[in-house]
Amino acid sequence: MASTGMMVSNIEIIPGRRVSSHLGMVQGSTVRAKHAGRDLMAGLKNIVGGELKGYTELMQEAREEATERMVAQAKSIGANAVINVRFATTSVTLGAAEILAYGTAVVLE
């Protein structure tokens, strides 16, 4: 997530810098479905337990995309940082999840 090139944090301040204006909430979300191949492997892995790597990657990609969308929205309204970021995950139907990232877009001096 370091590739976004914008200061993103989940605290309300940036140490040593002053927020010169608040631009309101920005958000990014994505809905991802798991694919059959990964599901089959996960089904086998389910028997012995442990990490389901396919799903970990899937959720990682989804979260990165949600963050990128949030950052893109923040850039488009002229912000240079997003603070107070939160994540939320909801399962939409069986086998699909929505990942949401939201935060406050601000301009740092």
């Binding site: 389910n46 012995v48 337990g49």
Partner: protein, 154 residues
């Protein structure tokens, strides 16, 4: 052979149970060994639950860091939990499962922080979601840890 096919479902059940017990335990022991080793290695990255950094005056860069894992129960633990849910009480199998997941997620978050040159993560939050598929499936959980890594300016 006829008996085998007649009781195929039972054989399959016992086979999966034994596989879950044997391999599941082995994998768990390995995972715990790896977690303990990495926890010692990453002990210098400090985590804070507080919202504000201890030192607010110094100018520092911030970066959101995340660590997460999707972890699945095994067939044996699911079976034992099924029995356990008749009488209630604590389920050790699922306790260790979630403990493993949360520690793994924390370690991945710390790894990302160290890569960015940070030794301090504030406002650490945890989130877990159950992502098991259809009803009766072996449960799996997604565990996410995230926080703000403070990076001292170069």
């Amino acid at each position: 052979m006829e008996i085998f096919f007649h009781y195929f479902e039972w054989f399959m059940f016992l086979f999966l149970l034994a596989l879950g017990f044997g391999v599941g335990r082995f994998l768990e022991a390995n995972h715990y060994a790896s977690i303990r080793q990495r926890e010692t290695a990453y002990a210098s990255v400090l985590l804070f639950g507080s919202r504000f950094p201890p030192d607010m005056a110094t100018r520092q860069d911030c970066q959101l860091v995340t660590g997460h894992v999707v972890i699945s129960s095994d067939y044996f633990k699911k079976f034992v939990f099924g029995l356990r849910s008749f009488i209630g009480g604590r389920s050790r199998g699922y306790e260790t499962l979630l403990d493993r997941g949360r520690r793994e997620a924390t370690l991945r978050m710390k790894t990302e922080a160290r890569r960015l040159g940070s030794k301090l993560i504030v406002n650490v939050k945890y989130e877990s979601t159950s992502i098991s598929g259809n009803r009766g499936a072996v449960p799996a959980f997604e565990i996410l840890a995230y926080g703000t890594a403070l990076i001292p300016p170069k």
